[in-house]
Amino acid sequence: MRKTLPFAIVTGVGFFMLVQYFVPREEFEIIYEWSLDWIIVIGCFAMLLGLWSLTMASIHKVQRKTPGWGYSVIALIGLIFMLIVGLYPGQASLVKGSIFMLFFEYIYIPIQATMFSLLAFYIASAAYRAFRARTILATILLVSALIIMLRLVPLGPLSSVNQWLANFILTVPNMAAKRAFWIGVGLGATATALKIMLGIERTYMGRD
């Protein structure tokens, strides 16, 4: 029960999914749609695990008064408040103008967008540190990135040459490398899927 059944399930449903790819019949299609929905439902229940973990971790920090425990209180308040205003009014909480959506609009969205925009700074500092012509590979990376970035900088007569080069890089070597990468990933993923279905790859299931 502990060991064999999970692997029997993995192999069973795995092969069913493989076979249904080749069988267009209605019966197969229906079971396929059901399984996808079941997985989504399982994910919904698993949310509770996450919520539990987050709450317990915060409570622990507060109880033990670990450094910065005050911030855990803030996180907890934010969480509980959003759960109340999000669940209690029913589905109406998702309508624009509700307290839930106001919090989303004026707290979540701006912080989210600002976190995202930090990338503008980090991309610059990462470029400065990493783009040094130390090795051939680093030089290639650097030159190709420079050519692409310079297409936005007015270079006078050189601009059209650079434009052409940037376009060439995007449509030719870039395309070739991406294809090789994708084909490799495709084969690697296929192999991993096969290993899972055969029960060879099983670390994700733990061991006892």
């Binding site: 969205i109 989210q112 967008a113 995202f116 503008a120 700074f121 991309i123 610059a124 500092s125 470029a127 400065y128 540190r129 783009f131 040094r132 012509a133 130390r134 650097l142 990135a145 420079l146 970035m149 310079l150 936005l152 900088v153 007015p154 601009s159 434009q163 995007l170 449509t171 870039n174 395309m175």
Partner: protein, 280 residues
């Protein structure tokens, strides 16, 4: 530590400062930047110019607030162009947030004096049919029946009652489709499920990250043209003769790009200079 060595180990906060200034300062200036309209954007403009006034264009808004800085100026410039040319706009969204973004863009466009004079009317000059679940299936279904796919508009009116939608049954009654896309579902789905089977005329605006992935469809002729990121948006604004947000932002873009390139170059200079010293 010599100056060069200090330069190599520069505190990244100095770089941050430069980027912040380079991005913010140009926002306060109006500089006429020379922006060349590339053929891939010009194609879009020419195709639009060829439409007679009164043509019906479909605008599919397939993005959310995350891509707003890049795609919102494109939505605005397109809507402005359509209103001034008297093209009738039908707005839909494959992303739940798309129609909301469209409303924000409309609000912005109506502030424009020229547009105000034209006074576009809801239901006659433009409609917003909202969002429908189904991703690429929506694109496919519209091929046979648009009112059935979007039975009600964004505000709950019956689609069939809208004057603009009279006689609009499917893609045969649509003269041009414009798609603003930040990923899935987006341009790819429009090409596969609308251009290939129904031979619609399609142009697209994409985020800079997405754009290179759809360029091949321009070469193959399935796509009229693409606006790639903010630069594509700026080129379109220049082409239509109404420079707006994207053009304004392009100055900041140019300066920040130049700053990054400059830092990379002096970084390399310092690196080689210090290495030479150590070598000798």
């Amino acid at each position: 530590m010599s100056f060069l060595e200090k330069l190599l180990a520069i505190d990244r906060r100095i770089i941050f400062l430069f980027i912040a200034i380079a991005a913010a300062l140009p926002l306060f200036f109006t500089v006429k930047l020379h922006i060349e309209v590339t053929p891939i954007v010009n194609n879009v403009y020419n195709a639009l110019e060829a439409l007679p006034p009164g043509s019906k264009v479909l605008l599919s808004m397939d993005y959310d607030p995350g891509s707003m800085p890049e795609l919102q100026p494109m939505a605005e410039s397109f809507l402005r162009y359509c209103f001034l040319r008297d093209l009738k706009v039908i707005i839909i969204g494959l992303w739940p947030n798309g129609p909301i973004q469209a409303n924000i863009a409309l609000e912005e466009v109506f502030k424009d004096e020229e547009v105000k004079n034209r006074n576009p009317q809801y239901g006659i000059d433009y409609v917003n049919l909202g969002y429908t679940v189904g991703n690429e299936v929506v694109v496919e279904r519209m091929g046979s029946d648009i009112p059935a796919t979007f039975p009600k508009d964004y505000t709950g009116n019956k689609t069939e009652d809208l004057p603009l939608m009279k006689g609009v049954k499917n893609y045969n009654n649509i003269d041009f489709v414009y798609n603003l896309s930040a990923g899935y579902p987006g341009t790819y789905e429009w090409v596969i499920f609308a251009v290939d089977p129904y031979k619609i005329k399609l142009a697209a605006g994409n985020t800079a990250v997405q754009a290179p992935l759809v360029y091949p469809y321009v070469q193959s002729g399935q796509l009229i043209g693409v606006l790639g990121g903010m630069k594509g948006g700026a080129e379109f604004e220049i082409a239509t003769g109404k420079p707006a947000k994207a053009v304004k932002y392009m100055f900041s873009q140019s300066v920040t790009h130049a700053v990054i390139c400059f830092f990379i170059l002096i970084g390399n200079f310092a690196y080689f200079a210090t290495r030479k010293k150590k070598g000798s």
